[in-house]
Every structure is written in C-alpha cells, then in structure tokens.
Symmetry: C2
Subunit: 219 residues, 2 copies
C-alpha cells in the first residue's frame, strides 16, 4: 500500500524511539523527534492506525504493527544504503550524508535499492557503523557497548556512533577517530566519569558526554 513521505517520516520516528525507549511510544516523544506539535502528531497517528501501520490507543501511546515495522525498516535500509553510496562513491564525509540520505530514502523503486545494494557490494553497515537491514527487514545485532561502559585496561574497536550530528562527527574527525579506530582505556576519573584513552598512540581525555555517544566492541 502507498505511503506518503510524511507517513514514512512518522514511521521512522516511531521506530527509532521504540528502539531506544521500548514500547508504547508517546505522542510528545514523536512530536519532539519530528519537530511538530503534539496535535499534529495525534492527527497523523489516526491516519497511520487506519492504515494498520501502528496500533494506537488514545492516551496510551503507539506501537508499530508488523506491517509498520517492515515499512520503517525498509526506509532505514534505504537511508543507510544511500549513506554508503555517498561516502564510498561520491566522496561525502560521514558528517555530510544525513540530509541528502533523508531525501533519497523516500525514492520509490525496488529495483533501485536492490541494484544499489549490489553495486555497493552488499554493505552490512553504514558510515556511522549502524547495521543495514537486509531485504527481509532483518537487522544484524552486534554485541557493541557504549565506550562509557568500557573497562580499564581493555582494548576496543570503535564500531559506531549514537549522535550522528555534524558537530559530533567533526569532533571525532578532528581527533582522528572513526569506525575501526583502536581505543584502549587507560584510566577512568571517578568524579565525572571522564576517561583517559589511548587512541592512535596518543593519550586523550574524553568526557562522559562524548563516551556515551561512541559504540565500541572488545578485541
């Protein structure tokens, strides 16, 4: 069934919120994510419920139906594939891709996406380390943790970021941190939980605001 660009953005928002905050997504949470007023959200929720993309109980929040989840995940798949395209083929940096991918994700063509996938050699992760759902909507789960949860003395590889804002990504670029970068935890400051990290042979200190936004995997 046909979904409008706006509907797709709502589905994506609901999906992302339910990923981080569990079930029963609130109207206000969606309004904040979409940057719209709660009343506008309520209107759209009725529409999405009519289309069986969400289950919606007044005052109780919403959940995606299987159909809605499939739709949301497919949009995310498209978004992330386009991000890979932009970085790998068109020389975009990882802080430049979001706005363009946000537009490209709404292009409707099955063949376009399957061919793009093949052209990019079936990538499994986007430039920010986020997994790319497969054509059946399956998402590979990795055993990543937030850098803030890392243990003293252990070594890790950066596998992703949470905050994908241009500002944060530029901060990482400046300190030569990217997907695949090796990080060793030298010390953790009890007071503010800031970390001393060995990165590219140099030691640097990161606040919890930073380490909360970096995903790492033990090595």
């Amino acid at each position: 069934m046909f979904t409008t660009l706006t509907e797709e953005n709502y589905l994506k928002a609901i999906y992302h919120i339910s990923q981080s905050s569990g079930t029963d997504v609130s109207t206000n949470a969606i309004a904040k994510q979409i940057d719209a007023k709660a009343s506008s959200v309520t209107d759209m929720l009725k529409k999405l419920a009519d289309k069986n993309l969400i289950t919606y109980i007044k005052y109780k929040g919403v959940n995606l139906t299987e159909k809605g989840r499939q739709a949301a995940v497919y949009i995310i798949r498209k978004h992330r594939l386009w991000e890979v395209f932009l970085v790998d083929k068109l020389n975009f940096s990882w802080d430049e891709v979001h706005d363009v991918a946000e537009q490209l994700e709404h292009i409707k063509s099955q063949k376009l996406i399957s061919e793009l996938d093949a052209f990019l050699d079936f990538p499994t992760h986007d430039p920010h380390g986020d997994p790319i759902p497969d054509e059946n909507g399956q998402i590979q789960r990795t055993n990543k943790i937030m850098l803030s949860q890392a243990q003293i003395g252990n070594s890790y590889t950066c596998v992703g970021v949470i905050d994908s804002s241009s500002e944060f990504l530029k901060y990482l670029d400046k300190h030569q941190i990217g997907i695949g970068t090796q990080i060793q935890v030298e010390a953790i400051e009890e007071f503010d939980h800031s970390m001393s990290l060995k990165i590219n042979t140099k030691i640097m200190v990161m606040s919890k605001a930073i380490t909360n936004n970096i995903y790492v995997k033990s090595i």
Copy 2:
C-alpha cells in the same frame, strides 16, 4: 530561492513545451503535459509568476524568465545525470529509467550533483541521446536530424530518440537499435514515406511513425 516539487514539475513542463512549440506556452498545453486540469494550471502560473520564474499574461500564455529557465535546466541536468547513473552503474535498461529519474531529479544537494557528474565521468548525453546541460545551464546543440529526413544512399549514426516511452524503446531494443547504431538508407517508399534501412547488416522497413522518433547524424 526555494522551489517545491510541484513547481519544479511545472517549470520542466513549460521548458519542454517551449522547446518543441516555441514561445507563449498555453495553459492547456501545460495541463496536458502535467496531466492536470487547466484551472489548476492557472493557479500555479500565478504562483510561479509571483516568484519571477515565468512571465504570465492572462489569456496570453507563459514564458520562462531567465531565472525560471535556469531552474528548469538544472532539473533536466539532474534528471539526465541520474539516468546515466541508473544505466551505467545500476544495470537499468534505457526504458526503465524514466520514472525513477523523475523522482531523483528533485533531490536537493549541489554537492550530490557535482560529485555524481564527476563519478559518471562528466557524461555529455543521457541514455536516450539527450544532451546533459552543464553546471552553468548551457546545453550542447548537435546537428542531428530526424531519421525521416534522411537521404537515400547516405549513412547515419543513431544519436537519440524523441519518444522515450518504454514501448518505443523496447521496439528499438528488439531490433537491436541503440545510440551509436549505424543506419544506411536503402530506399524510401513514396506512398507512406516508410524507409528501407540497412541496420547491423540486415535490411528492415520502418514506418514514418518510427523514423519520426529517431535522431541521426550523418557520417
């Protein structure tokens, strides 16, 4: 200045009509091209005139301003570059690209287009042989003629098509005719102006309905 997707489609339509039928594009001609009612077109023309994209005199038809022409040509540039991408990189055939390019042409990102252009190695023509406007809106004019205007005994190269419909392009595919195909005019039937052509060493007869839709260049 910001242009909506709908405005862009109107500008493109006006541009294409004025290319084939000269100045003072009529409301009805636009309505037909856009597949909308004349009253809807009138509404949009007022809007485009307010934005200085067209000059519009009631009952007299419209013309693109320089600003409008630039906007239209840029959309066409984007459309044709995406068509090249789809055919050259994603294995689309030339009869499959139109609908997808129609969506992709509205993506807004200067960098995307300049990088795509470079990635495709600065193509000069799209898969149907239409010239790709450069970044300044300049369009290369070629001395092509319609195959129906070709002379007996002369040899030509196919350089483009007029009708880009899937049906017509599939007809050409079936007879192994594409951009670059050599065509020699063996005979012309006076009665219906059908042509006997030597193509790929075989002789075939084409009606004027066909030869009117193929561009060729003398060799």
